[in-house]
Amino acid sequence: MKQRQALPYTFILPTFVVLAILAFVPTIYAVIISLQDRTLSAPGADFVWFKNYLQLFGDRRFLNALWVSLKWEVITVTATMAVAIVLGILMFDATGPRMRNTLTLIFLIPVLLPRVCAAFVWKFAFHPLYGLVTYPYRALTGKTLDLLADPNAAIFAIAFVDVWQWGFFFAVIILKLLEALPPQPLEAARLDHAKGWQIHYFVSLPMLRTALISLVFVKMIESLRSFDLVYVMTRGGPGVSTETLDMYAFSQGFIESGKISYASSMAVIMMIVTLVGFTLLWKKVK
């Protein structure tokens, strides 16, 4: 009997060991490095313990990066979910099966495009002299519009690309979730003369609450990895107006000064903030 209980663990153990190595070794290594004064240009390093962490809280760029990352999370998660819900409902209500399939295929294309390619394409589209997006403004006013050079607009321009990729993808998921709902509650609402928006607001979306919350969490985690878009489109600029935490950590580690330990301390803080924040949020929505 004991042997039979032990057998599944025998098979699962190697997988767990591999996963544990992959997850914990780099994390522990990052924590150790963050307590040192390691740089790319010097082979050795000494332990400086919490010096890097203390230095971070007097670093205006780090504090700015925290604020930019928070803004980025709020903007991209909110906009992605809003776009996805609106498009998902529109496809569900206003299109037949063939059109739905066609739109589904089209809406999946942006997310299949590698992020770096998407960033380059849109960077060119936003170009003040040659860009497709800025063309109407040029044609109407005779002036140029440089969104990526505007400290207030740049983050929204990058967020637009993120939403373009993920909003359409999530719209397809929401459409499929709506299609999977039992039809009776929706039929009952229609018989009660509920309007289209009322059916979704009071019936279908509440029925999808758990799935939508999961999507929000997936997008929150995905939005934390904004590095590729920011790096290609603005590299954190103009100035530091789009410098997110991961962008700043990379700059310190590899672009500007080779301060690997300092960059690691940022990564550790980011990990802790994310873990604590997500755990609290998860418990609250549960």
């Binding site: 790319l40 240009s41 010097a42 760029r61 170009h127 003040p128 002299l129 005779g142 002036k143 140029t144 440089d146 990526l148 050079a149 505007d150 400290p151 603005t234 590299r235 954190g236 600029g237 103009p238 100035g239 530091v240 107006s241 700059s251 590899f254 672009i255 500007e256 000064s257 080779g258």
Partner: protein
């Protein structure tokens, strides 16, 4: 007809040079594995790939070049050299050479550079830029100083003489700027970075008498620095859209597409402006040295031998052979035959009849005239990238308008430099 003759003459010259020197280089294959190279895109390197069979025959191995644009190449090569060291050959530049050399990421070149390839033939200024701590570290792929390229048609139409001083430049740029007609006075670099906005700003700083250090202490907040920054910001009012967060690509792209009246940029731009493949203003441009007192930013990029990927003498010799072959007289002659003026570095090529035939009189004369204006503007130290990048961010903030206090920004930079030097 002239071009055809020049092409024929250059091809003959290549054949002769190769026939004469091939025996000198003939030796048993010395490379065991493919040579991995990290570089940034250059027409001359694309051309080099057409001759990979020649290198195979010479060395016994192939080569693989990975291309990244300037900023990415810098960060990738730093990350690679300091960690796994995958690349046998790195494309380095004047800015990161002190860091690479002092960190032990490179092998001194001359111990592995075959004498037959004649290193002494490289332009003396470029040899000097490739030298750090008394040793030569790279063979030049391109280099030079700054040149002013202007639109003759626009200046003539406005009745403006080509600016010879900074005040004349300011006046000309303001007068020529006409966004309603799609013409902008100048194209500068706004993108953060020691090799981007700071590279162009330095010519104003040094030209106005600025020094990085005075009496051994950082002097980044001097009056010269304030004046240079204010001048740079004033000129930016007339810089083409897209350059506020752009670099070489954006600034030169705006000029080559015919939307800019005057540009002061690194010398390789000059050849590009008369190349119909990339320029829409080939017959409308003229060249002069930068207006006084601007100092041309002396620079050189080139190939160097990586230390981690080449742990023994055999692999270092192999990498050295690639560096020598790729920058050889024959390959420069091939670039000359293709009209790639920006990627020529050898005195023998500059002095050749083919060079004069290919580029006429104006461009070579302008390039020669810039020599006396060229200077090493940056702080030649391993800590320069960190310092330059810090100022790059502050300068980009000033350009974008998220900062307005020039003196305060320079004071902040001075404090950063003082701290950096003390470490």
């Amino acid at each position: 007809m002239k071009t055809k003759f020049a092409g024929l003459a250059a091809s003959t010259a290549i054949a002769l040079i190769f026939a004469c020197t091939n025996n000198a280089f003939a030796q048993s294959p010395i490379c065991a594995d493919t040579v991995h190279v990290l570089a940034q895109p250059r027409d001359g390197l694309t051309l080099l790939e057409d001759y990979r069979d020649e290198f195979k025959q010479l060395s016994g191995a192939d080569f693989q070049i990975d291309y990244l644009n300037e900023g990415d190449r810098r960060s990738k090569s730093q990350a690679d050299a300091s960690t796994i060291g995958k690349y046998n050959v790195y494309y380095v530049d004047e800015g990161n050479l002190p860091l690479f050399a002092s960190s032990g990421w490179l092998v001194p070149l001359m111990d592995h550079y075959p004498a037959a390839y004649d290193y002494a033939d490289f332009d003396a200024g470029r040899q000097q830029t490739a030298t750090y701590d008394g040793k030569i570290w790279f063979a030049p792929v391109l280099g030079g100083g700054d040149i002013m390229v202007y639109r003759k048609d626009l200046l003539d139409a406005a009745g403006i003489a080509p600016p010879a001083t900074l005040d004349e430049l300011k006046a000309a740029v303001e007068k020529l700027n006409d966004p309603a007609k799609g013409i902008y006075g100048i194209a500068l670099r706004g993108k953060r970075g020691s090799g981007d906005n700071v590279w162009r700003w330095m010519t104003y700083f040094k030209g106005m008498g600025g020094e990085w250090f005075k009496d051994g202490k950082p002097a980044f907040n001097s009056q010269a620095a304030v004046d240079a920054t204010n001048t740079y910001l004033d000129l930016f009012k007339y810089s083409a859209p897209g350059t506020q967060t752009g670099s070489w690509d954006e600034a030169t792209g705006a000029f080559l597409s015919g939307q800019v009246a005057i540009i002061i940029e690194s010398a390789p731009l000059a050849g590009m402006t008369i190349d119909p493949a990339v320029s829409q203003v080939t017959d409308k441009v003229a060249f002069l040295p930068p207006p006084a007192p601007l100092t041309g930013g002396g620079f050189a990029h080139g190939f160097a031998i990586g230390s981690k990927a080449n742990p023994d003498k055999a692999s270092q010799d192999c990498a050295g052979l690639f560096v020598a072959w790729s920058t050889s007289k024959e390959n420069e002659a091939r670039r000359l035959a293709k009209g790639q003026s920006g990627e020529l570095n050898r005195s023998s090529i500059f002095a050749s009849v083919e060079f004069a035939k290919t580029f006429g009189d104006a461009l070579p004369a302008a390039l020669a005239a810039t020599a006396s204006h060229t200077a090493v503007n940056f702080w030649q130290d391993a800590r320069w990238p960190e310092l330059g990048n810090q100022w790059g961010i502050e300068l980009e903030e000033l350009i974008a308008g998220t900062r307005t206090d020039v003196k305060g920004s320079l004071d902040e930079l001075n404090a950063f430099a003082t701290n950096l030097v003390a470490q």
